[in-house]
Amino acid sequence: MKYAYYPGCSLSSTGIEYDMSTREIAKVLGIELWEIPEWNCCGASSAHLTDHLLALALPARNLAIAEEAGLDVAIPCAACYARSKATEVAVNESEEMKKTIQEVIERKYEGKSKARALLEIIGESVQGDHIKERIHILLTGLKAACYYGCLLVRPASTAFDDPEDPQSMDQLLHLFGAETVDWSYKTECCGASHETSAKPEIGISILQKIFIAAQNAGANCLVTACPLCMNNLDMRQIEVEKYFSTKYNLPVFYFTELVGLALGIEPSKLGLNKHFVDAMPLVQEVLNRKGGEQA
């Protein structure tokens, strides 16, 4: 399968390990990623709060380039995905909007190239028996709380998974031998939009609830599909711990990192050493089990 690849701004900086791991596992899984040349920022999460048209036009340019190449777009970042999807839907719903957008971006975009979440694409690519041969390490011992975040499966009308209790990431991880916990914060917002902007005090109490819920559910790590969530859960975890004088010690992974680990890719190539909450002890634990439980 070939996709146009839209990494988005975060994946070249704060979310670099998401980018690294995505490219690595794509190679192994036989997914060809063609990075959209000269892609631009999709505007998330500022444009849609400033001007409706700008918010639709910015992602449209990227989609237009992909459409020219005849490809659907694979988007790892949940926020970029949500904004791009909104554009795709708007163009398909209204001829008038399609015309306006084409005039604004001065390119042709007919709404044929679809914005697709990386999680969905990876989930599809591992269906079938062939995947069994590719698994090097079973992720036994991982008890993951899958955190989908708010933007990946909303709005409900266009979502690829259930907005209240999504399962795609859980199923993906089960396939690679990890356990996932049943918890009710899968799609609760982490407040990332406030974290990155200017309201840290709002974020802290939201984050606290998520950490407690994951702990109570018996998880030993969090898994996410969004660089904003990652930043928030990983970078700010220590801050939240300090604020409430407690310890959560919950490493946070991108789902792509765990898939990469299971596929036998070296942890440093996946960027697993770049986390704020040290993920390596848990990774090491999994790797040490390798001897007994190699797939």
Binding site: P163, E164, D165, S184, Y185, N216
Partner: protein, 660 residues
Amino acid sequence: MKRVGVFVCHCGTNISGTVDCAQVAEAAKDFPNVEYSIDYKYMCSEPGQEMIKKAIEEHKLNRIVVASCSPRMHEPTFQNCVERAGLNPYYVEMANIREHCSWVHPNEKEGATEKAIDLVRMAVAKAVRNQPLQKTTIPVTDRALVIGGGIAGIQAALDLANAGHVVDIVEREPSIGGKMAQIDKTFPTLDCSACILTPKMVDAAAHPNINLLTYSEIEKVDGFVGNFDVTIRQKARSIKMDVCTGCGICMEKCPVKVDSEFELGLAKRRAIYTPFPQAIPNKPVIDREHCTYFLRGKCGICSKLCPAGAVDYTQQDELLTRRYGAIIVATGFELFDYSVYGEYGYGKYPDVITGLQFERLINASGPTMGKLQRPSDKKEPKNIVIINCVGSRDEAKGKSYCSRTCCMYSAKHASLIRDKIKDSNVYVFYMDMRTPGKGYEEFYDRSREQYGTQYIRGRVSKIYPLNDKLIVRGEDTLLSQPVEVEADLVILATAMVAQPDADKLAQKIGIGYDKDNFYTEAHPKLAPVETHTQGVYLAGACQGPKDIPDSVAQASAAAAKACGLLSKPEILTEPIVTEVDEKTCAGCGTCLLICPYKAIDLKTLTERIAGEIVERKVATVNEGLCQGCGACTVACRSGSIYLKHYTDEQILAEVNALCL
């Protein structure tokens, strides 16, 4: 010779204020066949009707046109009037110059008068072509069918039986009783539900005029008012009903345990079972889907143990066809499946239960013997949340309507909980409290004042487990603040919905249903228990959400309507039906496919043509079934089927008259 009389009504000033009635009457004099024309202040009044009768005699009129209000208002009045003057009532034709003219064109006097003249001309043209029609009679079978053995069905059957009519109750479960049998107490009196229901069940079973057909379903309904031929499937019970004594040994010894439908999954039953101890008939049935004997051909314990030898594994479903004069549909409701709500845990949290499950939990004969304990760990709950409108008033995931009963039963649940557990706290999340019933508001007051129930106005957004609690998040909209309750048990007041197969039964009987599959009444105000199919009546929640008092009242109303039908040996039928011109009918059968009432059939004619005897098929109309819609007349390629009183000739005459 057609002699038409035209009578133009002023309706006080209702018509004459806009339409120049004298001018209309004058213009009518020039219409073909009009012999007499006059205007008058109130045609429907006694002197007005006298005037018509007199004119008929004096001018030998044989067609009457009344230009006045809507025929939906006074057509029967004028039909009776001419009938008294010795004319066929179908010789009357009306021109609606009030609702369709003077009232809608008050500022266009000229236009309105011109229009009134047109309308009278059309009516005259049609009246001239009106044929005398006779109402015919059809016999009525004095036997009623009640479908559904819940409280509505039982009540309707008892009323009919007491009036001297034979009634069959068809109930698909092994016992009659319905949902009311599962309920613990009833609002607003807190009567024990079983204490008031079971005597009625016994009465129904013992009544000489009532036959119970339990574990049976409707297979097919043919026929028409007074003469419905209904095929009933009596499912194989695997028990010889006439031999079984109901001792219950079989049920004690059966090794199979499955979730009890009656206890809503809160307890187990055996594969041979009665749904509940007071079941009527109190004789078991074998659930063949789960019985080891039927699954693997082994076991047979019940058969070995039965002292009466009543177990019969070889029984087959039996089909029974009977003729009924009237049908009362009382199939009740189901509960909304709340597992569509991800925010309420998709039905995965054991301590989130429905209101009906709560009824079983608090019931002295229920799975916990009336001890209120939560399903997960059998602990006594201290903080209980009740959520109203789950599935009701929710266009997104549920039903748009209000289920009418939940506000009240939630208030009842709150009171019952506090009765049982004195130190408990009950929170009810509601959106609007709806208590329009006798004693209902007072009952709600008591639940707050006497039982200390905390009412919070707001819809719950999410329930999630935290340790062994359930966190319930809502907004107190009166406080404008989000609130959380750490609950031990959550009770959902789930919506009342139509039976899952309500539409299929409706299609079998030939009655209408709405977007939510509730059966539609003939008129929401004036014919609330009738259906559009004559002789079929509605009782209880199959027509829409209802509480017990309303269901019982409607059941008695339906029974009264059915009595009215059954107490006469025959009934008159509307003569506006279709008729086939057998000379030209080609017997193609297109009309059979079009007719929504299955009123048309093919019959074989034997004719002598050029000395030879030939057989050919022609369509024939069953006048008892035909409702006079006329759909077939348009579909007929040779124009061989026509609707009386609305023939092509009559309608075309009106069209022609309009354009003169």
